[in-house]
């Protein structure tokens, strides 16, 4: 629509193969069914582990958080078609950075706000 004849995409630069686009259109939504099942399994597993306290709370918190990250990856990969793009999937770079900085932000804030020293 923008001008019609434009060809704006540039080729993927060497070393950036991971952002090459992927499309899938199967006849039956098998992926989605599996993704849904997996997310349910992860949810119930995390719940079961927490209710029964199968290990020490701090380790357990780490484990359930890792499972949440797994669910996020599942949603991104299976449902959000994160690699679909016209031209290189450049949005992957800021998105990855967002999750990294987001987790860093929470962790660092908690660390800073502990006020470990008491001397100031």
């Amino acid at each position: 629509m923008h001008g019609g004849d434009e060809q704006h995409e540039t080729a993927i630069e060497p070393g950036f193969d991971f952002i090459s686009p992927r499309f899938e259109e199967p006849k039956f939504p098998m992926h989605q069914v599996w993704g849904y099942a997996a997310s349910l399994v992860l949810t119930f597993a995390a719940l079961w582990m927490t209710v029964n306290r199968i290990m020490s709370p701090s380790v357990l918190l780490g484990v359930v958080l890792a499972m949440a990250v797994g669910q996020a990856a599942l949603q991104l990969g299976v449902f959000m078609h994160v690699r679909e793009s016209r031209g290189p999937a450049w949005h992957l770079v800021p998105l990855g950075l967002a999750f990294a900085i987001g987790i860093g932000l929470v962790g660092m804030s908690a660390w800073i706000m502990l006020f470990k020293s008491g001397v100031s």
Partner: protein, 664 residues
């Protein structure tokens, strides 16, 4: 709200409490009303309302939006500068009560807030808008309508913030607005509400701008322009946009939580009920430090363009420039605690952030060396933008070095909140950002308007501004070391601060004179303009100089294929040697879809303004009306489909013919 008979006195008392009925405020009120009335009168008399609406208020053209940002930024520079001069006047002599303590609080708060959010940011966006689409060979930004929405959110937020001076009272807790000073219990006027609400509003606009330019650069470059062939201003824009994306959300949450504390009774940052003011400080600087680089990276981009154009040489060390800029972008997220070392988060935390602070000086140093080496062996011309570049080098180096001093944790306990700090950040923000942006305005002025600003007057303005800058801020380092603290509104005799303060105030007045010369230069250059028909008055190197000035609404009749850095420089040689035609060939020109004007952005801004005003005074019915307006406009816009009009190939050929641009 009280019953009807007492409604009018209630309204007058709320909107015009005693502290906005002081002589300065009443003077400002009269001036604002008179200026508004004059503008309306002038528009009506010359029958310009229709023109204003069609050409400017509803436009989605990035070039016009850029110009509107520029005008707003210059007005705000005037307001913020006036604030600064009031502060400096008060400090010129010991116990000089030119303005009183509470006025002083309000003035330093509005000075800082306006300079950062309503002067520097729009000036940066002015350059983004005008330059980036032209530099990457695009017809517009990725989302022209969102671009206009960003502008109007900013414009209405700026109007709201400035309104606080005469209606209800100004914010008075500093530009950082630390709690518990902003909590309702300690600060019960509406001033801080103005601060939080208008910053939230402009923050939404800024975030949208960040998204817009990031996507524009990622997806809309001319064919052949790979990342390593992009001009450096475009690289700066890319990195700045990423910084905006990651920095503004923490600010939004910090502001939102403070606002909720004030208007909805939450207890985030209050001292009662387990609240903790430190968390605001943490969130604010999670934004605040990247913001420093949001302000300075575009200036780095401008300097890179300016130095290579006026040295008539390729930029030295292009890959290291790109790499260092990206390194700054990433490292910017790891240094925020150096703004509050004295909070006492502990030695481990402070050491970590002290080290990361020193680390970030390295890529910045790389850039300075590359600029200097670009000039080496070049044929230099000392135009106004080049002078600003040359003035930046020593200023920024000293400002950066004192920054490293502040980053040394034990020393910071001495420097913290003293005039040493004030001198440091003014030196990098004026010496880096403002010099850079002014250089950019002089440099791209002909691209925006089709004529240059007068160079002679530009140099006068430069010498006053940069010459006044040094006496203003260098003495403040010593004042800081001698114990003068930040935000102190007056001081007694016998502290030994008198002489240095006098020098500093005189310097400030000289800078003010420089600003006035700049404004007069703008007006006089317009009156006596010499139209530049070439579109390339500086013998430039990048794509924006290959098209006429001002650029036609479609920018490029035919989008060029860019196969090297400094494409236009090389293309000029090819055109001279006859290897390539002198312009686009008529048969290559195709019809172009142009985004239509729309009233949606300005209406959305107005609806936000109404809602925000209601929120400031916690008049919920008005706030809800604004919210309903926002939703109304959004839903109207969701159901609109026909966003484009077609410019036929014939019309474009005619335009290009008239501009004398067609190649054989």
């Amino acid at each position: 709200m009280p019953a009807l008979p007492s409604f009018v006195p209630y309204l007058i008392h709320t909107l015009f409490p005693p502290w906005v009925r002081r002589p300065t405020e009443i003077g400002a009120e009269i001036m604002m009303t008179a200026a508004g009335a004059f503008i309306v009168y002038w528009l009506l008399k010359n029958k310009k309302l229709q023109w204003l609406w069609n050409e400017w208020l509803t436009t989605v053209d990035h070039k016009k939006i850029g110009i509107m940002y520029l005008v707003a930024a210059i007005i705000m520079l005037g307001r913020g500068g006036l604030d600064a001069l009031m502060l400096r006047t008060n400090l010129a002599m010991p116990t000089l009560h030119f303005i009183n303590a509470s006025e002083y609080n309000e003035v330093f708060t509005t000075h800082g807030t306006i300079m950062v959010f309503f002067m520097a940011m729009p000036l940066i966006f002015a350059l983004f808008n005008v330059v980036v689409p032209l530099q990457i060979g695009s017809r517009d930004v990725a989302f022209p309508r969102l671009n206009a929405i960003s502008f109007w959110l900013f414009a209405f937020a700026a109007a709201l913030f400035n309104l606080s001076f005469v209606v209800g009272g100004s914010p008075n807790a500093g530009w950082t607005a630390y709690p518990p000073l902003t909590e309702l219990a300690f600060n019960h006027t509406v001033g801080e509400n103005y601060y939080f609400v208008s910053l939230l509003m402009t923050g939404i606009g800024t975030t949208i701008t960040g998204i817009n330019f990031l996507v524009t650069i990622l997806r809309m470059r001319a064919p052949g322009m790979t990342f390593m062939k992009m001009p450096l201003f475009t690289w700066a824009t890319l990195n700045t946009s990423v910084l905006i994306l990651f920095a503004f959300p923490p600010l939004t949450i910090a502001l939102l939580e403070s606002l909720l504390d004030r208007v909805a009774g939450t207890t985030f940052f209050g001292l009662a009920h387990g609240g903790m003011p430190m968390m605001y400080v943490n969130l604010f600087w999670l934004f605040g430090h990247p913001e420093v680089y949001i302000l300075v990276l575009p200036a780095f981009g401008v300097f890179s363009e300016v130095v290579s154009t006026f040295s008539r040489k390729k930029l030295f060390g292009y890959p290291s420039m790109v790499l260092s800029m990206t390194a700054i972008m990433v490292l910017a997220y790891g240094t925020w605690v150096h703004h509050f070392f004295t909070m006492g988060a502990g030695p481990a935390v402070n050491v970590f952030f002290g080290l990361s602070t020193m680390l970030i000086a390295i890529p910045t140093g790389v850039k300075v060396f590359n600029w200097i080496l670009t000039m080496w062996g070049g044929r230099l011309t000392f135009t106004t933008p080049m002078l600003y570049f040359l003035a930046m080098i020593p200023t920024f180096v000293i400002g950066g070095a004192t920054g490293v001093m502040l980053g040394a944790v034990p020393a910071d306990y001495q420097f913290h909140n003293s005039y040493f700090l004030v001198a440091h950040f003014h030196e990098v923000l004026i010496g880096g950002t403002v010099f850079g942006l002014l250089a950019g305005v002089y440099y791209w002025w002909p691209k925006m308007f089709g004529y240059k600003l007068n160079d002679h007057q530009g140099k006068w303005s430069f010498w006053l501004f940069a010459g006044g800058f040094w006496p203003t801020f260098i003495p403040q380092y010593w004042l800081g070391l001698e114990g003068m603290t930040r935000r102190m509104y007056t001081y007694p005799f016998g502290m030994g601060w008198h002489t240095l303060n006098v020098i500093s105030t005189i310097g400030g007045l000289i800078m003010g004179a420089g600003f006035l010369v700049m404004v007069s230069n703008v007006l006089r250059s317009r009156l006596h303009r010499e139209v530049d028909a070439t579109g390339d008055p500086w013998d430039g190197r990048t794509l924006e100089w290959s098209i006429p000035s001002p650029a036609p609404e479609y920018n490029f009749a035919v989008i060029p294929t860019v196969d090297e850095r400094d494409w236009w420089w090389e293309e000029k040689q090819r055109r001279q040697s006859g290897e390539k035609p002198a312009g686009p060939r008529p048969e290559d020109i195709r019809a172009i879809a142009i985004p239509k004007n729309t009233p949606v952005p300005i209406l959305l801004g107005a609806a936000f303004f109404v809602g925000a005003f209601g929120l400031v005074f916690t008049w919920w019915p008005i706030a809800l009306m604004g919210l309903a307006g926002v939703f109304g406009v959004l839903i109207y816009s969701w159901f609109q489909y026909d966003h484009y009009r077609i410019l036929s190939a014939g019309e474009i050929r005619e335009t290009e013919e008239l501009l004398g641009r067609l190649g054989a």
